[in-house]
Subunit: 138 residues, 2 copies
């Protein structure tokens, strides 16, 4: 199974340790095409690549992935954009969301029939959630 993992870069480097843990969990289920999202060298201004190159590379990865797993606690234009494209392609989309005070998950994500949302409190909850989501039915 190939997995495209998405998380906020520009707004969410504070979440980066969580992203790295999620990527480690995901690697137990398949190949993660976007491992660099968990790297601490990825700064809040993003990658040192031309925007068009980033876009086209990531879209090609997303297109070939079997599933999109997105951590959506920190709002991100890029993650939302990737979710929109993946939904349009009929690709399975799994969103992981930590409820924070004074925050609400976007109605456009929460209300989309093509998206499965898993709310979690602690990253330790995720292995079980991902196992149920990513293991094919027998």
């Amino acid at each position: 199974m190939t997995i495209y993992f998405a998380g906020s870069i520009s707004g969410g480097r504070g979440d980066q340790a969580i992203y790295q843990q999620i990527i480690d969990f995901l690697k137990q289920h398949g190949t993660v095409l976007t491992e660099h999202f968990g790297q601490s060298s990825l700064t809040s201004v993003g990658e040192n690549l031309a925007d068009r190159a980033i876009h086209d590379r990531d879209l090609a990865w997303l297109r070939k992935a079997d599933v999109l797993v997105a951590e959506v606690t920190t709002p991100s234009l890029g993650v939302g954009y990737e979710i929109g494209r993946a939904v349009e392609w009929g690709k399975p989309v799994i969103c992981l969301y930590r409820q924070l005070p004074e925050r609400r998950l976007s109605g456009m994500i929460a209300g989309c029939a093509g998206i499965t949302i898993h709310r979690y409190d602690d990253v330790g909850d995720l292995p079980a959630i991902l196992r149920l989501s990513l293991t094919p039915d027998p």
Copy 2:
């Protein structure tokens, strides 16, 4: 011309006065389907509607709009999602972005060939930008 305007709700009520000004400018060019984005009664927890109803109503509006105009300074999952869907439909997408320190526009938005990006410093710059973008060539 029908125009779908999108801006961050949950993260960006501080931008709401700017959104209202943009909507007022847009109304000089056509019908704005999402006028409520500029309303001060729209709080940071969003609308009092079921998520599925919000999603389906907004997607129906987006589908029938001639153009999507998105203010993308404040990161938003919902706005990114709408941009992704609109790009996939081949709909014109115009993004308005104020450069802020320590911030960079998502590479997925900046690098997408289907999106026109206008950077601005002051909301007073926008009438001229929108006139050039929204007036059909003679």
